[in-house]
Symmetry: C2
């Protein structure tokens, strides 16, 4: 199972990567190599799929792969075409395309829009590869209890391959394991699940490809958040023995349709040494999230041609964590911290920002904003005459910082990483074109309480204080007016975050949230803040999806929306 | 046909509007009143549809409408629910829900995502209303040649009602007419097509509801871009006579499935005066676009609770046109022009901006940016040492203007309208957080050449020079450096725009565009500029869709995308 990291649209690059993995697998005399879903185009290609030339270029690239595939069977995700297009798997052996499987169940929910592009496949087939009967399925196909994998196993498949491009979110790995294990033991079939790895805009694919035996036991697992070639010898003989003991299959078989069997090759490699399957370890929650953020950031920067990133350091927990992630993703020489104190910046914040930068070994630039801010106030004095200081003056400061960061980005070609978290993004406690200005919003899908957890993990992992202790201890503040605290405007994050989670991620109603024990007025206020700030989120940079429901593709609310739930 | 303008999510408001139209139709003794698709929720409700309480609140609102519907049959678009949800039409008479039609063909392309939300309906039925056999269909249903309307007419329907929420784009009205006229004469049936009207984020619904007779002739048409109640007496007796002359129906009928007939009411209103159907005039292209922009802007502002808007006036054609649209949409007292000269602003630009404001009668505020800009340069001097002036310094100026406009917005609650056109947005000739900063991008889907056409129309329509003549004559310039002209960096718009149209709206390949006679190197350069500026467009404010392929929901390209078409 070749768990590789393609680049969306880069057919040349992806083709080379695929051919090189095929070479490697041929060397160790593997019978079969499987690549993830749409590995050739990268996933998701989105509206590139509406360009006829892109489809043709992808077919031409497939031909190059076919020519290079000799003494091994390869399953490669690509876009198939007749008078329509299909999310498909090519089954290749001995420089020939032996068959094609077309995905039957197209996902069109959450972050997926496959009904926008593809026609669905009709019938599954079975491929005979060195005497083994292999059913091929694509991602969503295996999530249907009565899907093609059931039919394939009732028709004799001993192994079902599932090629996937399954994006990461919290608890997704557990969910996948449960479903795949259940399918394997329900169908009494080996399941080899090969997943994509890498970051693509808002999505990060976690890899962690897996093999389950016909008892539903996990027997092999690839690395998580890294490229990997997972090799295993499968004892498919055990499948028949299992089936003799399982009466369910006999009864189900009576009503199962027959499916076509296609011979791919019969060329057993007898002189091969047995390879022990690897079981890479699972990650604990904080490590998993941290590595998702690192990979997502690295890939966004590199795949978009950025070597260096720049971050505004405030001395707060959010920018501190983002700096740590950036250093882990790109190396300390590729991260620049910009410290932009104002008259409201506390000496301790300034000091904490500098300590963090020193701990990380990154370069900093200090550019105070006070002079520029005063100039704005001077120019606006007449127009604002008689008006009180309010969020306007706070936003002006944030936007000066945004302008400075973007100027550094423009001048030096650095990518600006923004530092806003999901709690702020939810309630709009953030300045559009100010702290929201930048190319990539690293932690936009982490609630503030989770930011603290991951930051704590960072120090524990390093076994030293990378993020200064004081950063954890002080009250969160935007420092845009004197003695400002987030809690002046918002409830404590320990209360705000669970309300936000219920409302945003679970679509719970006002009543249901109140029933959990939260204050009515507070819940009403929070819901209103979330709803009316949709316009800000619409202009936010992309960031890494961590929760099951991130802002962006995952949650598509209208801006113009006057819905107020009845009490 | 009640062509009304609902607000997405505002069930209370929409319910009242619907009941009031029913009252009006009862007064004139109409047999039947039809409302647009999903009129109750507004269209498109997007992920509001994933909230169970929203569905329940919509059903409760429908009950209120049912109670108020007495001596008339009403067809009302709503979200139906069993153990799933449906895009549906309620057929109501005498305070009872007589039946429900569920949309069969769900669109999931372009700006539509209905497969994300709805289960499709299975079978159409026929409703008998005062002896007339009426088939009900919803929007997309009628676009399928072999869709439910064919089956309904083969089963005896004399009238097919199509309730729609069909968003405007160029040439869409012509297309609708062609299709509806053909269906009516193919099926030998009257077609009453009732469309939504109003703006919703990027979409504007143009209304223009229509009735075709069984010969495919347009016999009634409602106002375009306005609410309307279109009333017509239909001579359904003519349908049978037509059918006796048409052999196609007999042959098709042999293989047509039978469908259920549901009696709604039998309560003919004999004492009614005959009402002559109205045929509102069509609009010529420029007027059509102008009115789409006006309605889209007005509705975005008002539905989001803004009374006033603010616009940066540069003295160029783009901001001039946007100011004219804003005044038409909201009245001159609700539009503020901000003039922000820099050292690169030519005296003539300054003068033209002032003349335009005077011609429109709008208030202006002049806030030079030179002082603030100098302050930025001073603060950045050390960091930028040894670096040449480049787009960085240009962007700083644009972002100062963005900051000032947003400060006015924050202080006074004005909505910032941005002034970028589609040509600029396509090639990224625009500053993120600078001139792109604002809540609504009025002309983001007009190519520059079209901006000139609409601006010319504006003056012709007024029969005077609202936009000063010089604004049309001077070379377009961002005036962000000395003697800058757009054509220093870009090809002339008369060449750029058709290339952009081929590439963006038609997904033509590099070769196909070159084959049209454009220079190879130029086409390559333009394609590259379009592709690499996806990240800017992702953070752009919403704006009104005018072309068949606007940026936003309509064209969903990945940011991370290394596709380069093969030559």
């Amino acid at each position: 199972m070749a768990q590789i990291n393609p680049v969306v649209g880069d057919l040349e690059h992806n083709t080379k990567k695929i051919i090189s993995a095929i070479r490697e697998a041929e060397k160790i005399k593997a019978d079969l190599i499987c690549f993830p879903e749409l590995v050739l185009t990268g996933y998701p290609p989105e509206d590139l799929l509406l360009k006829p030339q892109f489809i043709e270029d992808n077919l031409e690239a497939l031909q190059r792969i076919i020519k290079k595939t000799k003494d091994i069977t390869a399953i490669v995700g690509f876009v198939d075409m007749d008078d329509d297009i299909y999310n498909a798997a090519a089954i290749i052996y001995n420089q020939e395309l032996k068959g094609v499987y077309r995905k039957i169940f197209l996902p069109n929910y959450g972050v997926f829009d496959e009904d926008r592009y593809f026609q669905a496949g009709k019938e599954p087939s079975l491929f005979v590869i060195n005497d083994a009967k292999v059913g091929i399925t694509i991602c969503e196909d295996i999530w249907y209890a009565n899907g093609p994998a059931l039919l394939q196993s009732l028709n004799g498949a001993e192994l079902v391959v599932n090629i996937s491009a399954s994006p990461y979110h919290l608890r997704k790995r557990k969910l996948r394991k449960r479903v795949l294990s259940t399918r394997a033991s329900d169908y009494r079939v080996f399941i080899a699940y090969v997943n994509l790895v890498g970051g693509q805009d808002e999505l990060v694919f976690d890899g962690g490809s897996m093999i389950f035996n016909a008892e539903g036991e996990l027997i092999a697992q690839a690395k998580i958040f890294e490229e990997d070639l997972l090799v295993a010898d499968l004892n498919l003989g055990s499948v028949f023995r299992k089936r003799l003991h399982d009466p369910r299959r006999r009864k189900e078989k009576l009503k199962a349709k027959e499916i076509e069997k296609i011979l791919v090759c019969n060329n057993k490699k007898t002189n091969r040494e047995k390879i022990e399957a690897r079981l890479e370890r699972d990650l604990k929650l904080e490590e998993e999230i941290f590595r998702a953020l690192v990979l997502g950031t690295r890939d966004y920067a590199k795949k978009n041609g950025f070597e260096k990133v720049v971050i505004g350091l405030s001395g707060g927990i959010d920018s501190s964590l983002v700096a740590v992630i950036a250093v882990e993703a790109l190396g300390k020489d590729n991260v620049v911290g910009v410290i932009m104190p104002s008259r409201f910046t506390s000496p301790s914040s300034l000091e904490d920002a500098k300590t963090l930068a020193k701990n990380l070994g990154i370069k900093t630039i200090t550019l105070p904003i006070t002079g520029i801010f005063d100039k704005y106030l001077e120019e606006l004095e007449d127009v604002f005459k008689g008006k009180k200081w309010d969020s306007t003056e706070e936003n002006i400061q944030a936007r000066i910082r945004g302008n400075i960061l973007m100027a550094l980005s423009n001048k030096f070609g650095w990518l600006v990483l923004t530092t806003g978290n999901k709690s702020e993004m939810s309630v709009g406690y953030t300045t559009l074109y100010g702290d929201m200005a930048g190319g990539f919003a690293v932690i936009k899908d982490l609630f503030k309480t989770m930011v603290y957890r991951i930051a704590k993990y960072v120090n524990e992992r390093a076994e030293k204080e990378i993020i200064p202790k004081r950063v954890f201890e002080k009250s969160p503040s935007a420092e845009l007016r004197a003695n400002q605290k987030d809690e002046d405007d918002l409830p404590p994050y320990s209360i705000l975050d669970p309300i936000l989670q219920s409302y945003i991620e679970e679509d719970k109603s006002f009543r249901e949230i109140v029933a959990k024990g939260f204050d009515e007025e507070l819940v009403k206020k929070v819901i209103k803040m979330v709803d009316k700030n949709e316009y800000k989120r619409r202009q936010a940079p992309p960031g890494i999806r961590i929760t099951p429901r991130a802002f962006g593709k995952d949650r598509r609310l209208p801006i113009t929306n006057r819905y107020v739930p009845r009490d």
